[in-house]
Symmetry: C2
Subunit: 205 residues, 2 copies
DNA sequence: TATAAAACGGGACATTTGTCCTCCTTTTCA
DNA sequence: TGAAAAGGAGGACAAATGTCCCGTTTTATA
Protein backbone atom coordinates (compact mmCIF):
# COMPACT_ATOMS: atom_id res chain seq x y z
CA UNK A 1 0.00 0.00 0.00
CA UNK A 2 2.73 2.38 0.98
CA UNK A 3 4.24 2.26 -2.47
CA UNK A 4 1.27 4.14 -3.86
CA UNK A 5 0.71 6.76 -1.27
CA UNK A 6 4.30 7.93 -0.85
CA UNK A 7 3.88 10.77 -3.29
CA UNK A 8 0.26 11.60 -2.52
CA UNK A 9 -1.01 14.78 -0.85
CA UNK A 10 -0.42 14.33 2.84
CA UNK A 11 -3.82 15.45 4.02
CA UNK A 12 -5.46 12.30 2.71
CA UNK A 13 -4.18 9.40 4.72
CA UNK A 14 -4.87 5.73 4.30
CA UNK A 15 -6.00 4.18 7.55
CA UNK A 16 -6.57 0.64 8.64
CA UNK A 17 -10.03 -0.29 9.87
CA UNK A 18 -11.13 -3.40 11.70
CA UNK A 19 -14.49 -5.13 11.40
CA UNK A 20 -15.90 -7.88 13.60
CA UNK A 21 -17.68 -10.82 11.95
CA UNK A 22 -21.11 -9.66 10.82
CA UNK A 23 -20.14 -5.98 10.68
CA UNK A 24 -20.67 -4.18 7.41
CA UNK A 25 -17.90 -2.35 5.60
CA UNK A 26 -20.44 -0.96 3.17
CA UNK A 27 -24.20 -0.55 3.30
CA UNK A 28 -26.24 -0.89 0.13
CA UNK A 29 -27.67 2.47 -0.88
CA UNK A 30 -25.34 4.54 1.26
CA UNK A 31 -23.03 7.18 -0.10
CA UNK A 32 -19.57 6.25 1.06
CA UNK A 33 -16.32 8.08 1.13
CA UNK A 34 -13.82 5.25 1.23
CA UNK A 35 -12.55 2.57 -1.04
CA UNK A 36 -11.42 -0.50 0.86
CA UNK A 37 -8.72 -3.01 0.14
CA UNK A 38 -9.02 -6.12 2.26
CA UNK A 39 -5.88 -6.76 4.28
CA UNK A 40 -7.06 -9.82 6.16
CA UNK A 41 -10.21 -11.89 6.41
CA UNK A 42 -13.16 -12.74 4.20
CA UNK A 43 -16.17 -10.68 3.30
CA UNK A 44 -19.32 -11.33 1.37
CA UNK A 45 -20.59 -8.94 -1.23
CA UNK A 46 -24.35 -9.21 -1.53
CA UNK A 47 -27.44 -7.47 -2.77
CA UNK A 48 -30.64 -7.38 -0.74
CA UNK A 49 -33.74 -7.41 -2.93
CA UNK A 50 -37.00 -5.79 -1.99
CA UNK A 51 -38.54 -9.18 -1.36
CA UNK A 52 -36.06 -9.74 1.44
CA UNK A 53 -33.92 -12.29 -0.34
CA UNK A 54 -30.16 -11.91 -0.63
CA UNK A 55 -27.92 -12.70 -3.53
CA UNK A 56 -24.20 -13.02 -2.89
CA UNK A 57 -22.07 -12.15 -5.90
CA UNK A 58 -18.71 -12.91 -4.55
CA UNK A 59 -16.60 -13.50 -1.52
CA UNK A 60 -13.79 -10.99 -1.29
CA UNK A 61 -10.55 -11.84 0.44
CA UNK A 62 -7.05 -10.60 0.93
CA UNK A 63 -5.88 -8.03 -1.59
CA UNK A 64 -9.28 -7.49 -3.15
CA UNK A 65 -10.83 -4.10 -3.54
CA UNK A 66 -14.33 -2.91 -2.85
CA UNK A 67 -16.19 0.37 -3.13
CA UNK A 68 -14.21 1.04 -6.28
CA UNK A 69 -17.29 1.22 -8.49
CA UNK A 70 -18.64 3.96 -6.30
CA UNK A 71 -15.21 5.53 -6.30
CA UNK A 72 -15.15 5.67 -10.08
CA UNK A 73 -18.67 6.86 -10.59
CA UNK A 74 -20.25 8.84 -7.82
CA UNK A 75 -23.18 6.61 -7.13
CA UNK A 76 -24.82 5.06 -4.16
CA UNK A 77 -23.44 1.75 -3.04
CA UNK A 78 -24.66 -1.10 -5.12
CA UNK A 79 -24.36 -3.77 -2.50
CA UNK A 80 -23.51 -4.68 1.05
CA UNK A 81 -20.04 -5.76 2.07
CA UNK A 82 -20.13 -7.73 5.29
CA UNK A 83 -17.31 -9.32 7.23
CA UNK A 84 -17.63 -13.09 7.54
CA UNK A 85 -14.49 -13.58 9.57
CA UNK A 86 -12.78 -10.79 11.45
CA UNK A 87 -11.55 -8.34 8.83
CA UNK A 88 -8.96 -5.61 8.59
CA UNK A 89 -8.92 -3.34 5.58
CA UNK A 90 -7.10 -0.33 4.21
CA UNK A 91 -9.52 2.57 3.96
CA UNK A 92 -8.61 4.89 1.11
CA UNK A 93 -10.40 8.25 1.11
CA UNK A 94 -12.26 8.91 -2.11
CA UNK A 95 -10.23 11.94 -3.01
CA UNK A 96 -7.01 10.03 -2.63
CA UNK A 97 -8.42 7.19 -4.70
CA UNK A 98 -9.34 9.62 -7.46
CA UNK A 99 -5.91 11.21 -7.22
CA UNK A 100 -4.15 7.86 -7.51
CA UNK A 101 -6.25 6.92 -10.48
CA UNK A 102 -5.09 9.95 -12.41
CA UNK A 103 -1.55 10.32 -11.16
CA UNK A 104 -0.32 6.84 -10.56
CA UNK A 105 -0.07 4.76 -13.69
CA UNK A 106 0.65 1.57 -11.80
CA UNK A 107 -2.37 1.99 -9.59
CA UNK A 108 -4.57 2.78 -12.56
CA UNK A 109 -3.30 -0.29 -14.34
CA UNK A 110 -3.85 -2.55 -11.34
CA UNK A 111 -7.40 -1.36 -10.97
CA UNK A 112 -8.17 -1.90 -14.64
CA UNK A 113 -6.83 -5.41 -14.44
CA UNK A 114 -8.75 -6.10 -11.26
CA UNK A 115 -12.00 -4.97 -12.89
CA UNK A 116 -11.25 -7.00 -15.99
CA UNK A 117 -10.60 -10.12 -13.94
CA UNK A 118 -13.75 -9.57 -11.96
CA UNK A 119 -15.92 -9.25 -15.05
CA UNK A 120 -14.38 -12.40 -16.47
CA UNK A 121 -15.00 -14.38 -13.34
CA UNK A 122 -18.53 -13.13 -12.97
CA UNK A 123 -19.32 -14.05 -16.56
CA UNK A 124 -17.91 -17.51 -16.19
CA UNK A 125 -19.70 -18.14 -12.95
CA UNK A 126 -23.13 -16.86 -13.96
CA UNK A 127 -22.91 -18.88 -17.11
CA UNK A 128 -22.32 -22.20 -15.47
CA UNK A 129 -24.76 -21.44 -12.70
CA UNK A 130 -27.43 -20.99 -15.33
CA UNK A 131 -26.48 -23.92 -17.52
CA UNK A 132 -25.34 -26.67 -15.23
CA UNK A 133 -27.16 -28.56 -12.46
CA UNK A 134 -26.79 -27.46 -8.86
CA UNK A 135 -24.71 -30.51 -8.04
CA UNK A 136 -22.04 -29.18 -10.33
CA UNK A 137 -22.02 -25.60 -9.11
CA UNK A 138 -22.07 -26.74 -5.52
CA UNK A 139 -19.08 -28.97 -6.08
CA UNK A 140 -17.18 -26.13 -7.69
CA UNK A 141 -17.92 -23.90 -4.75
CA UNK A 142 -16.79 -26.52 -2.26
CA UNK A 143 -13.61 -27.07 -4.25
CA UNK A 144 -12.95 -23.33 -4.21
CA UNK A 145 -13.57 -23.19 -0.48
CA UNK A 146 -11.15 -26.03 0.14
CA UNK A 147 -8.50 -24.58 -2.17
CA UNK A 148 -8.57 -21.22 -0.43
CA UNK A 149 -8.77 -22.86 2.94
CA UNK A 150 -11.70 -20.78 4.11
CA UNK A 151 -14.98 -21.65 5.78
CA UNK A 152 -18.21 -20.19 4.49
CA UNK A 153 -21.48 -20.66 6.39
CA UNK A 154 -24.05 -22.85 4.69
CA UNK A 155 -26.61 -20.10 4.33
CA UNK A 156 -24.05 -17.94 2.55
CA UNK A 157 -23.17 -20.73 0.17
CA UNK A 158 -26.85 -21.17 -0.65
CA UNK A 159 -27.25 -17.43 -1.23
CA UNK A 160 -24.20 -17.53 -3.50
CA UNK A 161 -25.68 -20.35 -5.53
CA UNK A 162 -29.04 -18.64 -5.67
CA UNK A 163 -30.89 -21.53 -4.07
CA UNK A 164 -32.67 -22.17 -0.79
CA UNK A 165 -31.03 -23.98 2.10
CA UNK A 166 -33.46 -26.81 1.55
CA UNK A 167 -32.13 -27.35 -1.96
CA UNK A 168 -28.62 -26.95 -0.70
CA UNK A 169 -29.06 -29.68 1.90
CA UNK A 170 -30.79 -31.94 -0.56
CA UNK A 171 -27.89 -31.65 -2.98
CA UNK A 172 -25.36 -32.29 -0.22
CA UNK A 173 -27.21 -35.47 0.63
CA UNK A 174 -27.13 -36.63 -2.98
CA UNK A 175 -23.41 -35.96 -3.24
CA UNK A 176 -22.86 -37.94 -0.06
CA UNK A 177 -24.94 -40.79 -1.41
CA UNK A 178 -22.63 -40.84 -4.43
CA UNK A 179 -19.58 -40.91 -2.16
CA UNK A 180 -18.37 -37.61 -3.53
CA UNK A 181 -18.66 -35.92 -0.17
CA UNK A 182 -17.69 -37.09 3.30
CA UNK A 183 -20.54 -38.87 5.11
CA UNK A 184 -20.98 -36.15 7.71
CA UNK A 185 -19.19 -32.98 6.73
CA UNK A 186 -18.85 -30.72 3.74
CA UNK A 187 -15.48 -31.99 2.67
CA UNK A 188 -14.82 -33.45 -0.69
CA UNK A 189 -13.83 -37.05 -0.11
CA UNK A 190 -11.92 -37.34 -3.34
CA UNK A 191 -8.49 -36.62 -4.71
CA UNK A 192 -7.99 -33.60 -6.93
CA UNK A 193 -7.84 -35.89 -9.95
CA UNK A 194 -11.06 -37.70 -9.13
CA UNK A 195 -12.85 -34.41 -8.55
CA UNK A 196 -11.74 -33.04 -11.89
CA UNK A 197 -12.94 -36.19 -13.57
CA UNK A 198 -16.39 -35.76 -12.02
CA UNK A 199 -16.61 -32.09 -12.95
CA UNK A 200 -15.61 -32.93 -16.50
CA UNK A 201 -18.36 -35.50 -16.74
CA UNK A 202 -20.91 -32.83 -15.83
CA UNK A 203 -19.49 -30.49 -18.40
CA UNK A 204 -19.87 -32.95 -21.19
CA UNK A 205 -23.50 -33.77 -20.67
CA UNK B 1 -13.48 8.33 -32.25
CA UNK B 2 -11.29 10.80 -34.08
CA UNK B 3 -10.84 12.87 -30.97
CA UNK B 4 -8.77 10.10 -29.38
CA UNK B 5 -6.60 9.04 -32.24
CA UNK B 6 -5.53 12.46 -33.46
CA UNK B 7 -2.31 12.38 -31.50
CA UNK B 8 -1.62 8.65 -31.77
CA UNK B 9 1.23 7.03 -33.69
CA UNK B 10 0.19 6.99 -37.31
CA UNK B 11 1.04 3.42 -38.04
CA UNK B 12 -1.86 2.13 -35.98
CA UNK B 13 -5.05 3.14 -37.70
CA UNK B 14 -8.60 2.66 -36.56
CA UNK B 15 -10.68 1.05 -39.30
CA UNK B 16 -14.36 0.43 -39.69
CA UNK B 17 -15.50 -3.13 -40.17
CA UNK B 18 -18.87 -4.43 -41.26
CA UNK B 19 -20.53 -7.64 -40.12
CA UNK B 20 -23.62 -9.31 -41.57
CA UNK B 21 -26.25 -10.69 -39.19
CA UNK B 22 -24.95 -13.93 -37.71
CA UNK B 23 -21.29 -13.06 -38.32
CA UNK B 24 -18.97 -13.11 -35.34
CA UNK B 25 -16.87 -10.15 -34.35
CA UNK B 26 -15.09 -12.29 -31.80
CA UNK B 27 -14.73 -16.04 -31.37
CA UNK B 28 -14.56 -17.52 -27.89
CA UNK B 29 -11.07 -18.87 -27.22
CA UNK B 30 -9.37 -16.98 -30.03
CA UNK B 31 -6.53 -14.58 -29.54
CA UNK B 32 -7.62 -11.32 -31.10
CA UNK B 33 -5.81 -8.19 -32.00
CA UNK B 34 -8.60 -5.64 -32.04
CA UNK B 35 -10.86 -3.95 -29.60
CA UNK B 36 -14.22 -3.04 -31.13
CA UNK B 37 -16.55 -0.18 -30.49
CA UNK B 38 -19.99 -0.72 -31.99
CA UNK B 39 -20.94 2.07 -34.36
CA UNK B 40 -24.26 0.69 -35.51
CA UNK B 41 -26.37 -2.40 -34.88
CA UNK B 42 -26.87 -4.93 -32.10
CA UNK B 43 -24.68 -7.81 -31.04
CA UNK B 44 -25.02 -10.58 -28.54
CA UNK B 45 -22.25 -11.47 -26.17
CA UNK B 46 -22.47 -15.12 -25.21
CA UNK B 47 -20.57 -18.02 -23.80
CA UNK B 48 -20.82 -21.52 -25.24
CA UNK B 49 -20.51 -24.19 -22.60
CA UNK B 50 -19.06 -27.61 -23.22
CA UNK B 51 -22.52 -29.14 -23.03
CA UNK B 52 -23.53 -27.12 -26.09
CA UNK B 53 -25.74 -24.65 -24.28
CA UNK B 54 -25.31 -20.91 -24.68
CA UNK B 55 -25.60 -18.20 -22.11
CA UNK B 56 -26.02 -14.62 -23.30
CA UNK B 57 -24.63 -12.04 -20.88
CA UNK B 58 -25.61 -8.94 -22.63
CA UNK B 59 -26.67 -7.33 -25.84
CA UNK B 60 -24.22 -4.70 -26.93
CA UNK B 61 -25.33 -1.76 -29.03
CA UNK B 62 -24.17 1.59 -30.29
CA UNK B 63 -21.21 3.06 -28.44
CA UNK B 64 -20.45 -0.04 -26.44
CA UNK B 65 -17.03 -1.63 -26.37
CA UNK B 66 -15.99 -5.23 -26.65
CA UNK B 67 -12.72 -7.10 -26.60
CA UNK B 68 -11.53 -4.67 -23.98
CA UNK B 69 -10.99 -7.35 -21.35
CA UNK B 70 -8.66 -9.13 -23.71
CA UNK B 71 -7.09 -5.78 -24.53
CA UNK B 72 -6.33 -5.12 -20.88
CA UNK B 73 -5.08 -8.54 -20.01
CA UNK B 74 -3.58 -10.61 -22.77
CA UNK B 75 -5.92 -13.54 -22.57
CA UNK B 76 -7.95 -15.60 -24.94
CA UNK B 77 -11.40 -14.32 -25.71
CA UNK B 78 -13.87 -15.09 -23.00
CA UNK B 79 -16.95 -15.15 -25.16
CA UNK B 80 -18.43 -14.86 -28.61
CA UNK B 81 -19.65 -11.58 -30.00
CA UNK B 82 -22.12 -12.13 -32.79
CA UNK B 83 -24.00 -9.61 -34.90
CA UNK B 84 -27.78 -9.86 -34.53
CA UNK B 85 -28.56 -7.08 -36.96
CA UNK B 86 -26.12 -5.80 -39.53
CA UNK B 87 -23.26 -4.23 -37.59
CA UNK B 88 -20.52 -1.72 -38.22
CA UNK B 89 -17.78 -1.25 -35.67
CA UNK B 90 -14.58 0.68 -35.13
CA UNK B 91 -11.69 -1.77 -34.98
CA UNK B 92 -8.93 -0.49 -32.72
CA UNK B 93 -5.62 -2.35 -32.98
CA UNK B 94 -4.44 -3.68 -29.65
CA UNK B 95 -1.30 -1.62 -29.59
CA UNK B 96 -3.23 1.54 -30.20
CA UNK B 97 -5.69 0.56 -27.48
CA UNK B 98 -2.85 0.03 -25.04
CA UNK B 99 -1.31 3.32 -26.08
CA UNK B 100 -4.55 5.22 -25.57
CA UNK B 101 -5.00 3.64 -22.17
CA UNK B 102 -1.69 5.01 -20.98
CA UNK B 103 -1.51 8.29 -22.86
CA UNK B 104 -5.05 9.51 -23.07
CA UNK B 105 -6.57 10.34 -19.72
CA UNK B 106 -10.04 10.85 -21.16
CA UNK B 107 -10.00 7.49 -22.88
CA UNK B 108 -8.73 5.80 -19.77
CA UNK B 109 -11.46 7.42 -17.74
CA UNK B 110 -14.19 6.47 -20.18
CA UNK B 111 -13.08 2.88 -20.15
CA UNK B 112 -13.00 2.73 -16.37
CA UNK B 113 -16.51 4.12 -16.20
CA UNK B 114 -17.72 1.73 -18.85
CA UNK B 115 -16.34 -1.23 -16.93
CA UNK B 116 -17.84 0.08 -13.70
CA UNK B 117 -21.25 0.47 -15.30
CA UNK B 118 -21.05 -2.97 -16.78
CA UNK B 119 -20.23 -4.61 -13.48
CA UNK B 120 -23.10 -2.76 -11.84
CA UNK B 121 -25.58 -3.81 -14.45
CA UNK B 122 -24.41 -7.40 -14.42
CA UNK B 123 -24.73 -7.54 -10.65
CA UNK B 124 -28.21 -6.12 -10.68
CA UNK B 125 -29.40 -8.38 -13.42
CA UNK B 126 -27.96 -11.63 -12.09
CA UNK B 127 -29.42 -10.84 -8.74
CA UNK B 128 -32.97 -10.44 -9.89
CA UNK B 129 -32.69 -13.32 -12.29
CA UNK B 130 -31.81 -15.52 -9.35
CA UNK B 131 -34.33 -14.15 -6.92
CA UNK B 132 -37.44 -13.31 -8.89
CA UNK B 133 -39.75 -15.51 -10.96
CA UNK B 134 -39.27 -15.78 -14.70
CA UNK B 135 -42.42 -13.76 -15.37
CA UNK B 136 -40.74 -10.79 -13.79
CA UNK B 137 -37.39 -11.08 -15.57
CA UNK B 138 -39.09 -11.68 -18.88
CA UNK B 139 -41.20 -8.56 -18.45
CA UNK B 140 -38.14 -6.52 -17.67
CA UNK B 141 -36.41 -7.79 -20.78
CA UNK B 142 -39.42 -7.01 -22.97
CA UNK B 143 -39.63 -3.54 -21.47
CA UNK B 144 -35.94 -3.00 -22.22
CA UNK B 145 -36.41 -4.22 -25.77
CA UNK B 146 -39.33 -1.85 -26.32
CA UNK B 147 -37.51 1.09 -24.74
CA UNK B 148 -34.46 0.64 -26.96
CA UNK B 149 -36.64 -0.06 -29.96
CA UNK B 150 -34.80 -3.20 -30.95
CA UNK B 151 -35.92 -6.69 -31.88
CA UNK B 152 -34.29 -9.69 -30.31
CA UNK B 153 -35.06 -13.21 -31.53
CA UNK B 154 -36.94 -15.40 -29.09
CA UNK B 155 -34.18 -17.96 -28.77
CA UNK B 156 -31.76 -15.21 -27.81
CA UNK B 157 -34.11 -13.87 -25.20
CA UNK B 158 -34.42 -17.35 -23.72
CA UNK B 159 -30.64 -17.76 -23.69
CA UNK B 160 -30.34 -14.40 -21.97
CA UNK B 161 -32.82 -15.42 -19.29
CA UNK B 162 -31.09 -18.76 -18.87
CA UNK B 163 -34.21 -20.79 -19.64
CA UNK B 164 -35.38 -23.06 -22.45
CA UNK B 165 -37.61 -21.85 -25.25
CA UNK B 166 -40.33 -24.06 -23.87
CA UNK B 167 -40.31 -22.18 -20.58
CA UNK B 168 -40.11 -18.92 -22.44
CA UNK B 169 -43.23 -19.71 -24.47
CA UNK B 170 -45.06 -20.94 -21.43
CA UNK B 171 -44.37 -17.70 -19.62
CA UNK B 172 -45.46 -15.64 -22.60
CA UNK B 173 -48.75 -17.51 -22.63
CA UNK B 174 -49.28 -16.82 -18.95
CA UNK B 175 -48.57 -13.13 -19.40
CA UNK B 176 -51.05 -13.04 -22.26
CA UNK B 177 -53.66 -14.79 -20.16
CA UNK B 178 -53.20 -12.04 -17.59
CA UNK B 179 -53.63 -9.37 -20.28
CA UNK B 180 -50.16 -8.04 -19.68
CA UNK B 181 -49.02 -8.92 -23.18
CA UNK B 182 -50.74 -8.51 -26.54
CA UNK B 183 -52.81 -11.56 -27.55
CA UNK B 184 -50.51 -12.53 -30.43
CA UNK B 185 -47.24 -10.63 -30.29
CA UNK B 186 -44.53 -9.89 -27.80
CA UNK B 187 -45.62 -6.37 -27.09
CA UNK B 188 -46.50 -5.13 -23.69
CA UNK B 189 -50.15 -4.16 -23.82
CA UNK B 190 -49.92 -1.73 -20.94
CA UNK B 191 -48.99 1.84 -20.30
CA UNK B 192 -45.65 2.62 -18.71
CA UNK B 193 -47.41 3.32 -15.41
CA UNK B 194 -49.33 0.07 -15.38
CA UNK B 195 -46.17 -1.88 -16.18
CA UNK B 196 -44.28 -0.29 -13.34
CA UNK B 197 -47.10 -1.12 -10.99
CA UNK B 198 -46.93 -4.77 -12.00
CA UNK B 199 -43.15 -4.95 -11.65
CA UNK B 200 -43.41 -3.36 -8.24
CA UNK B 201 -45.91 -5.96 -7.13
CA UNK B 202 -43.40 -8.68 -8.02
CA UNK B 203 -40.67 -6.93 -6.14
CA UNK B 204 -42.64 -6.77 -2.97
CA UNK B 205 -43.54 -10.43 -2.78
C1' DT C 1 -47.28 -23.84 -57.44
C1' DA C 2 -46.45 -28.14 -55.13
C1' DT C 3 -43.74 -30.56 -51.95
C1' DA C 4 -40.19 -31.37 -48.79
C1' DA C 5 -37.73 -29.45 -45.06
C1' DA C 6 -37.28 -26.63 -41.30
C1' DA C 7 -39.14 -23.87 -37.55
C1' DC C 8 -42.60 -23.16 -34.15
C1' DG C 9 -46.08 -24.00 -30.40
C1' DG C 10 -47.72 -26.52 -27.04
C1' DG C 11 -49.40 -31.21 -24.61
C1' DA C 12 -47.85 -34.81 -21.42
C1' DC C 13 -44.78 -36.38 -18.36
C1' DA C 14 -40.25 -36.24 -15.59
C1' DT C 15 -37.18 -33.75 -12.87
C1' DT C 16 -35.86 -30.03 -10.11
C1' DT C 17 -36.64 -26.59 -6.76
C1' DG C 18 -39.40 -24.20 -3.29
C1' DT C 19 -42.66 -24.01 0.72
C1' DC C 20 -44.36 -25.53 4.85
C1' DC C 21 -44.13 -28.04 8.74
C1' DT C 22 -42.35 -31.31 12.18
C1' DC C 23 -38.88 -33.33 14.85
C1' DC C 24 -34.52 -33.27 16.90
C1' DT C 25 -30.30 -31.05 18.52
C1' DT C 26 -27.94 -27.24 20.45
C1' DT C 27 -27.81 -23.07 22.91
C1' DT C 28 -29.18 -19.91 26.43
C1' DC C 29 -30.40 -18.40 30.72
C1' DA C 30 -32.68 -18.59 35.17
C1' DT D 1 -29.31 -28.62 35.84
C1' DG D 2 -33.58 -28.09 33.50
C1' DA D 3 -36.83 -25.63 30.62
C1' DA D 4 -37.52 -22.67 26.92
C1' DA D 5 -35.91 -20.84 22.78
C1' DA D 6 -33.37 -21.02 18.58
C1' DG D 7 -31.40 -23.33 14.78
C1' DG D 8 -30.79 -27.18 11.61
C1' DA D 9 -32.28 -31.39 8.92
C1' DG D 10 -35.35 -33.50 6.21
C1' DG D 11 -40.38 -35.45 4.82
C1' DA D 12 -44.44 -34.32 2.08
C1' DC D 13 -46.54 -31.79 -1.10
C1' DA D 14 -46.78 -27.78 -4.54
C1' DA D 15 -44.92 -25.08 -8.09
C1' DA D 16 -41.64 -24.28 -11.66
C1' DT D 17 -38.80 -25.86 -15.31
C1' DG D 18 -36.96 -29.21 -18.59
C1' DT D 19 -37.44 -33.10 -21.97
C1' DC D 20 -39.64 -35.41 -25.49
C1' DC D 21 -42.71 -35.55 -28.95
C1' DC D 22 -46.38 -34.56 -32.25
C1' DG D 23 -49.17 -31.61 -35.18
C1' DT D 24 -49.27 -27.13 -37.52
C1' DT D 25 -47.25 -23.27 -39.86
C1' DT D 26 -43.73 -21.17 -42.42
C1' DT D 27 -39.87 -21.27 -45.53
C1' DA D 28 -37.17 -22.92 -49.25
C1' DT D 29 -36.68 -25.00 -53.57
C1' DA D 30 -37.49 -27.62 -57.70
Amino acid sequence: MEQFTASAPESEAVTIKTFAPGARLIHQGDTISYVYIIREGITKCYLEEDNGKDYIFEFLGKGEITGELEGIKKEKCLCNIEAITSVTAYAIPHRLFAWLLVNNTTFNRLLLEELAVRIRQTCIRTSYQQLYPVEYTLLRLLALEAAQDIVIPKKDMAAYLGITIRSFNRTLKELRAKNILDPQGLNIGLSRKQLEEILRRFEEM
